[in-house]
Subunit: 198 residues, 2 copies
DNA sequence: ATCTTTACCAGTCACCTGTATTATGTCACT
DNA sequence: AGTGACATAATACAGGTGACTGGTAAAGAT
């Protein structure tokens, strides 16, 4: 065979190209040919690594989820050794909102994916699992903070979890320029200030 | 000419068909042919009323915006003569979240439209204006409530406005079944309870 | 040296898209 | 009666889509 190639690496390069196309031109422009061109490969080569468009999209979403969690994990050390959960939540939210180029691309990819998932059983389950995992993490963080007395213990865990997640609702406002990034962060800070005691 | 026809009525019937197709099958399936079939008209007839796909989409969005505000206006009397702004906000939010079939269809149409608008200057402006109007209404409601002493006067008007709007972030959680409608309403109530005094 | 597997590519297929064109009614008005 | 604006339909067109084909080349295994 030819110079044996790292399939995983190739696939990730293509997924990254898809990520760029969706960010720049939108989900509907993310065709096999367009992605192939963006990745600098031929259509045939792309099809060699992804047997169908759905397979490519599925892989790209996993790749994107990993990239986002890596970004968060990479920024966590910024907060020091034993970071306050308030700062952790602020960081997570800042990475989920379109506040900088990489987060924006992830946000757009996710939004398009969710929309597509609404009318496709398989995708819906996959997207649902991802969101559920995210919610569980936030919930666990809040549960611990309550146990540690950093949040008033008569706050309802489920409700507070959901309210944190709802802050991602700033996305369309930010994308359309209705509010500025600073305003979103101010609102997030205000909410977190009221949530945590002291 | 033939039986002279109410053009506005025809266009609204088509817009309503588009609305149904997007709700059921997704934005990408909302092609001219599909919408025509759903509306029970021929492709040629659809083209007679909308000279281009963009024109159809633009009209459909205006139609949808009006339908949503009509729904809200229609439910307002439920709250009695001088409704508490807390109840008004609750009602508005309930109509913007996918909590019942009509609101769900509107929500899906809006989401798809925003996504499309990100990469189209004209649409982006149009969508931005709509969102800005919505924000202004919420802001005015809160401003009045502060003036009336129903909200603590040291709350920041802009921040509270944005936090209310962010509650629409429940949409993807609801659509993918991560949370139940009751949970979303509980969270909304908790937020509003803390916002309003007494 | 031959075989088998992997990598890649140009071309083709059937299908679907928005739009444009053409034809044929239908009715009001002069 | 006929003329002209409107309503509706059927069809054609050019472009783009995902998927598939056969073929060529490279390199490890036998």
């Amino acid at each position: 065979m030819p110079k044996l190639v790292d399939r995983r690496e190739r696939r990730e390069a293509i997924a990254h190209a898809l990520w760029r196309v969706v960010d720049r031109d939108g989900w509907s422009k993310a065709t096999m040919r367009e992605v192939a061109q963006e990745a600098g490969v031929s259509l045939g080569q792309l099809q060699h690594y992804f047997s169908s468009r759905t397979a490519m999209l599925t892989f790209a979403m996993e790749f994107d989820a990993k990239a986002t969690s890596d970004r968060i994990a990479g920024s966590l050390p910024t907060l020091g050794g034993q970071p306050h959960p308030r700062q952790v939540l602020r960081l997570v939210l800042a990475e989920m909102l379109p506040l900088h180029p990489e987060a924006r691309a992830s946000s757009r990819l996710n939004a398009a994916y969710v929309l597509e998932a609404l009318h496709d059983e398989t995708l819906r389950n996959q997207a649902g699992v991802g969101l559920r995992e995210g919610r569980s993490m936030v919930r666990e963080l809040l549960r611990q903070a309550i146990a540690d007395g950093r949040i008033d213990e008569d706050r309802d865990l489920e409700i507070e979890t959901d309210l944190i997640l709802s802050l991602t609702g700033f996305t369309p406002l930010l994308e359309l320029g209705v509010i500025q990034p600073a305003a979103a962060l101010n609102a997030i800070d205000a909410h977190l200030d009221r949530l945590f005691t002291g």
